[in-house]
């Protein structure tokens, strides 16, 4: 590795300054504000504020709505991750085998990724709308009455499908790249030894894909927990009866709509801690078990 040595002590700081400034203004400062806010009780206009210590946190731990939101987030994140990764792996394996038309497939499959989350949300809102949607209409033909406006499980299914659909393209690209990096000779050797396609996949392909899979696992969990806000906002708005109210959406709703800055601040601090914990656990312990 080549090392650059600066003779001037100031220059490296100067070169770093823009990035440091951005980090400070857009990350550190708001995070510090959220932490400070979480210890206060304030009216909407910010005219009167009282320091209340840990009260906002204690109230959250005591609130059935917040515990429900944690549970919903867990179910949602697991479902989105499993569905989008499973499905994209299937597609990637299929595209990898038909190499001749792989480019056309790849292009088609990548399209959804270019769609903004809010647009995707509206799209699914239309497809699933119980009154004017095409899907409930088709389901009615086979005798199923779809109504995610009053059925919590159907609402969850809707946001999971909409969120997973968006992420499939991204996962697909990484899986295809991962698959193509696996030397064909390994699989050929196994085939000569008499291993069938399924056996070859589970004993050779999938283990060799594990770095990609691990990376995508982290990305997908983060995606499901934090980037699905727009999908939720444009389809179910957390309803019915908080059935799809994931933690990120609750932070927004309690803070911006409910004007409860203290609680919203405490919730974002908790989220921040969860992200830090997830990252530490995954990279400290899980990454060591992943073969590169």
């Amino acid at each position: 590795m080549k090392r650059t040595i600066f003779s001037n002590q100031l220059l490296p700081w100067l070169l770093l300054a823009p990035q440091l400034a951005i980090t400070f203004i857009f990350f550190i400062w708001p995070a510090a504000q959220a932490v400070w806010q979480s210890f206060l009780r304030e009216d909407a206009f910010g005219i009167r504020s009282t320091f209340v210590g840990m009260e906002n946190y204690l109230r959250l731990m005591d609130s059935p709505e917040y515990l429900n939101s944690m549970q919903v987030t867990l179910v949602f994140a697991v479902l989105v991750t499993v569905l989008s990764m499973g499905f994209s792996l299937l597609l990637a394996v299929a595209a990898d085998r038909t190499l001749r038309s792989a480019r056309a497939y790849t292009t088609l499959l990548v399209w959804p990724y270019a769609v903004a989350p809010a647009v995707a949300g509206i799209l699914w809102w239309f497809i699933f709308n119980p009154t004017i949607g095409i899907l409930p209409f088709l389901l009615e033909q086979i005798g199923y009455d779809w109504n995610h406006i009053s059925n919590p499980n159907e609402a969850m299914a809707l946001v999971v499908i909409a969120s997973a659909w968006k992420q499939i393209s991204y996962n697909f690209l990484f899986f295809v790249a991962g698959l193509q990096a696996i030397p064909a000779s390994l699989r050929e050797a196994a085939a000569i030894d008499g291993a069938g396609p399924v056996k070859r996949f589970f004993t050779i392909t999938f283990p060799l894909l594990s770095p990609t899979t691990f990376f995508l696992l982290v990305v997908n969990i983060v995606y499901a927990m934090f980037e699905t806000f727009a999908v939720i906002d444009s389809t179910t708005e957390g309803g019915p009866a908080q059935a799809t109210n994931i933690m990120v959406y609750k932070v927004y709703f309690d803070g911006f709509v409910g004007q409860n800055m203290g609680s919203s601040g405490a919730q974002s601090v908790i989220l921040m801690l969860i992200v830090i914990a997830l990252t530490v656990i995954q990279f400290r312990w899980v990454e060591k078990k992943v073969a590169y």
Partner: protein
């Protein structure tokens, strides 16, 4: 390139010059679509009528979005002079002493003629403090009414000129409609919180909360789990199970109007201000108008319905020279001509008695257009029917929707849902009181 720059610089200076000649007054509002266009037309009328002030309306999204935008702007000291706030935000705005300038005070200071008695009692009641001082300027008030499909009524063998008056008739008519195959469902509703809970209570002269529905002080408590409300929510659940009633979603109930327009449901209860939209979308059938149904076994029903919609709040902290302009603009807005024009266009209520008189010709030509007005003036408002005022009511509305959805999905009974609504709502009210101590 240089030429383009200098040209735009000159244009910029010119526009600054023009802005300096008149004092600009920012007005943030939540009127999108056709209502927004009409609103701009009204503002233009004021701007053309004098040359000291220019009112600049800006559309800021939905009611909650407009309100939170104004609050955020206030915290950043970038607030507009005027902001349109929906009726449930009244408690929050009122408590923000120091952030708002009460309208009665503003009008008095700037010598504008302003008489609260000129407004409809149901409107005045909602926006005055306990001393009878008006805090915000009524602009667009509405009340829920019943719309029905006359063609379906006729097909089902019902009298198309006779809307149901009681809930018993609602059920009976709906069954007849469904059995005859004229429509798939009897009725739907927008705004479960506003129409089926708050207005329902006022219409049956039942309290929504203690201390005159919260007008008496900040430590009031909700009493929405009374016998009448439990009965009604229970019925709605039963009707939903039987297919008579279809739920159209939380808040305004986005899915309700399409069910009525597509003739899936024969009736809808919605704001009087959706009249224009209903008429525009009812291309294949004739629309009838009726008052909200009531239970005839509840004494003193029907009482009077309560209003919704929004008022204009004046925020403090703007340059002094803007406020006389705001006062003059408010006088213009509440003049009978402007109000009558706005109300006949939109379906909002004419908020002053004079504007109502101005509209008498319009009402004659448009039968049913006065349903909302007749409904809120049906009786002198009582303690239970003059409106409601609780802190954090925006959040409580959300809780009402959630509990109603729990009822609809069958996870709670009407009693359980309303008990839990009261408990959670009271927590919000207590939080609000603590925040504003």
């Amino acid at each position: 390139m240089t030429r383009i720059y200098s040209a735009s610089a000159i244009a910029l200076i010119a526009s600054l010059g023009a802005a300096n000649a008149q004092t600009e007054i920012q007005w943030w509002h939540a009127m999108g679509g056709e209502l927004g266009t009409k609103l701009e037309e009204i503002v233009q009328g004021f701007n053309d009528s004098q040359d000291e002030y220019t009112v600049v309306p800006s559309y800021k999204g939905t009611y909650p979005e407009t309100m939170t935008a104004a609050i955020a702007a206030f915290r950043a000291q970038e607030q507009p002079a005027i902001v349109q706030v929906f009726e449930v935000g009244t408690g929050t705005m009122m408590a923000a002493e120091g952030a708002i300038m009460p309208v009665y005070q503003l009008m008095e200071e700037h010598g504008e003629n302003f008489d609260p008695a000129a407004f409809l009692p149901a409107v005045v009641g909602y926006y005055t403090d306990t001393d009878g001082n008006m805090l915000s300027m009524p602009f667009n008030s509405s009340t829920p009414i019943l719309y029905y499909n006359k063609n379906i009524f006729e097909e089902a063998g019902l009298d198309p000129e006779q809307p149901p008056e009681t809930w018993a008739q609602m059920e009976e008519f709906s069954k007849q409609i469904m059995e005859s195959g004229a429509a798939e469902c009897g009725f739907t509703t927008g705004w479960v919180s506003w129409i089926q809970t708050e207005n329902f209570s006022a219409w049956h002269n039942q309290p929504i909360g203690t201390m005159e529905n919260g007008f008496g002080g900040t430590d009031a408590e909700l009493t929405l789990n009374g016998e009448a409300q439990v009965k009604h929510w229970g019925n709605l659940k039963r009707w939903a199970d039987e297919g008579i009633f279809k739920y159209g979603g939380p808040v305004g109930g986005d899915n309700a109007p399409p069910m009525f327009y597509s003739q899936e449901c024969a009736m809808i209860m919605n704001s009087s201000a959706s009249r224009a939209g209903v008429l525009a979308n009812a291309t294949d059938f004739e629309v009838g108008f009726g008052m909200l149904p009531y239970y005839d076994d509840i004494e003193s029903a029907p009482q009077n319905s309560i209003i919704g919609g929004a008022t204009l709040w004046v925020l403090s902290g703007r340059p002094d020279e803007e406020y006389p302009g705001v006062a003059a603009f408010f006088s213009y807005l509440s003049s009978p001509e402007v109000q009558a024009d706005w109300a006949s266009f939109s379906g909002y209520l004419p908020i002053t008695e004079a504007a109502g008189e101005e509209m008498s010709g319009f009402f004659e030509e448009n039968p049913g257009a006065d349903t909302g007005l007749r409904q809120i003036t049906l009786n002198e408002p009582t303690e239970n029917s003059k409106g409601l005022r609780f802190g954090n009511y925006v959040q409580i509305r959300g809780i009402i929707d959630e509990e109603f959805e729990a009822l609809m999905s069958g996870s709670k009974t009407a009693q359980e849902a309303l008990d839990s609504l009261v408990e959670r709502g009271n927590q919000q009210i207590a939080d609000f009181a603590a925040q504003n101590q």
